[in-house]
Symmetry: C2
Subunit: 324 residues, 2 copies
């Protein structure tokens, strides 16, 4: 990359969500050592936040089916923090509307190592999301509102949700491209739209991109150029389906004098080669297809799970076309 095209903007804050989004690939069964190594690497790289998992309900998600990072109990998080006292990085946790016991499981910020709560919700869950945002804010957290599957929403509904969020105490609105269906011109449009609802009250806009169309990094750059200052990425692009914007690409292009990219490549070399032999993620053609069709990646994930359907991308194309 030629130096003059790299982006400098001291307002940008990066968030690593490798464990949280990547956990959707392996049921959040990351070892304590892996999470600790990631935590240290991100802190070394001067990444601003690390999102360590979900606070989801152990009544809805049976604990024998998921790893610790699906629930992020306070004592588990504290073990990570205590084991790496040198690490200076803010901690985030995602809380899902409809899937969490947020009233009790989100403890007062003063009692938790967490700094930020990100509330994830679909448009029809906006009432609960607003209550969750108030609750987390009242407990002392920085709060982010992450409206999912934005490309599935009709424009008036999106406007209505953003309008309601604009008077909430959430200080960040994240554009969440759950289906990996956004192209950069749409990222520009959405960033401007979100900013219209956010800016007046001093809120920031973020981008959480998926890589179905190999556009996660491009959409993230485009959002930044349009005024987004909170951007998500994951080491190796690890994340559900096609994965996310790779942290190693983001840190190579944005505020390169502030961030350090070597710890990310070191972690890739030390931890991710082995991981790639256990689990799969990335922009396989099945995920391109669901992104092109603007649908949830479930059909692609299912197709790749089974050896009889994996790589039969023309069959999946026909299936998705028939469902149009």
């Amino acid at each position: 990359m030629n130096e003059q095209w790299k982006i400098k903007n001291p307002k940008i804050k990066t968030l690593d969500c490798t464990i949280r989004d990547g956990g959707l690939v392996n049921s959040h069964r990351f070892s304590f050592e892996f999470v600790l190594a990631l935590y240290r690497a991100c802190a070394d790289a001067k990444v601003d936040y690390i999102e360590i998992g979900y606070k989801n309900s152990d009544k809805i998600f049976a604990p024998d089916e998921f790893g610790d990072w699906k629930y992020c109990k306070e004592d588990v998080i504290r073990r990570i923090v205590d084991d790496a006292p040198e690490a200076k990085i803010k901690l985030s946790c995602m809380v899902d509307a409809g899937k969490s016991e947020w009233k009790t499981d989100v403890v007062p910020c003063a009692q938790s190592p967490l700094d930020m709560i990100r509330v994830a919700f679909y448009a029809h869950q906006v009432d609960e999301a607003l209550a969750m945002i108030d609750d987390a804010w009242n407990k002392g957290y920085e709060v982010s509102a992450n409206l999912m599957a934005v490309t599935a929403l009709e424009e008036p509904i999106l406007d209505s949700v953003l309008q309601r969020l604009s008077t909430s105490p959430a200080s960040v609105f994240v554009i969440v491209d759950s289906f990996g269906a956004i192209i950069p011109s749409q990222a520009e449009y959405l960033t401007q739209k979100y900013l219209n609802y956010a800016q007046d009250s001093g809120k920031e806009v973020g981008m959480h991109a998926h890589n179905n169309l190999q556009l996660a990094f491009a959409n993230t750059l485009k959002s930044i150029q349009c005024g987004a200052t909170r951007v998500d990425a994951t080491v190796g692009g690890l994340g559900r389906g096609a994965g996310n914007c790779p942290m190693e690409l983001l840190l190579g292009a944005v505020n390169v004098e502030q961030y350090r990219i070597r710890p990310i490549y070191k972690l890739l070399q030390q931890e991710f080669i082995a991981l790639r032999q256990q689990i799969e993620w990335g922009p396989f053609a099945e995920f391109m297809l669901t992104g092109q069709h603007n649908v949830h990646p479930k059909a692609a994930i299912d197709a790749r799970k089974d050896l009889d359907t994996r790589d039969r991308v023309c069959d999946l194309f026909d299936q998705l076309e028939a469902q149009k």
Copy 2:
């Protein structure tokens, strides 16, 4: 992808260079059947051009080390065309400055199935390139000027080469991102620069992107939005190192009512799964590193060839940093 963001522009022409650029991965050892299947699929998809290989010198490249598509002898090309008489697609061949016997191996267009000659050259070879362009044009071909490794050039040298090309009979100038180092804002800048030298004489501008930074598709879209009308892509993104812009992504976003994407997915299913077990390409972290450092992918290709150095991406990072 939401429908309203898809691009419509009847002036755009797509070129498949799967065999030509992909041949840099396997020494152009594609079977006749594979090339025929690709030729048919691209014609079915209504892709505008297919670039079937190089016309390189068999004195410089020993024929026992390379497949037919390194040389593209007229009789070999004609076998493909004759075996698929139903296919309506223009044929292109690339000719390298310094590596071809262009005076003799490029035969008069009237005697060849080829429609277009693309002259590939580095800036220091511009004199020969201009002679090659004149020669091919005088023989009756449409001619494209493909100045390689644009990100390695200082601005005055790039301007000087474009200035000299502007009075040549080449009707297309292609931005060639050999190192995969371009980001979309630079693609915009370069497209406008190339257009400045091309437009007055009715020439078109094209984009040949590499995927080191997972930006090949994004850069291609950006160039189109800035006025480029000739765009390269390859099935499955097959191409040297990190590969190219995937045809299946391009045809899903551009002129979707004109192109047919299904034949590309069909070919992926029928031919590319097996191919992936024989050869490797794609945006592995080694290629990100050479793209970020704006150097030829050779160091990454070498690192991935040897099991002792493959996936040791932090070691490669250190090596490239030391060479800065």
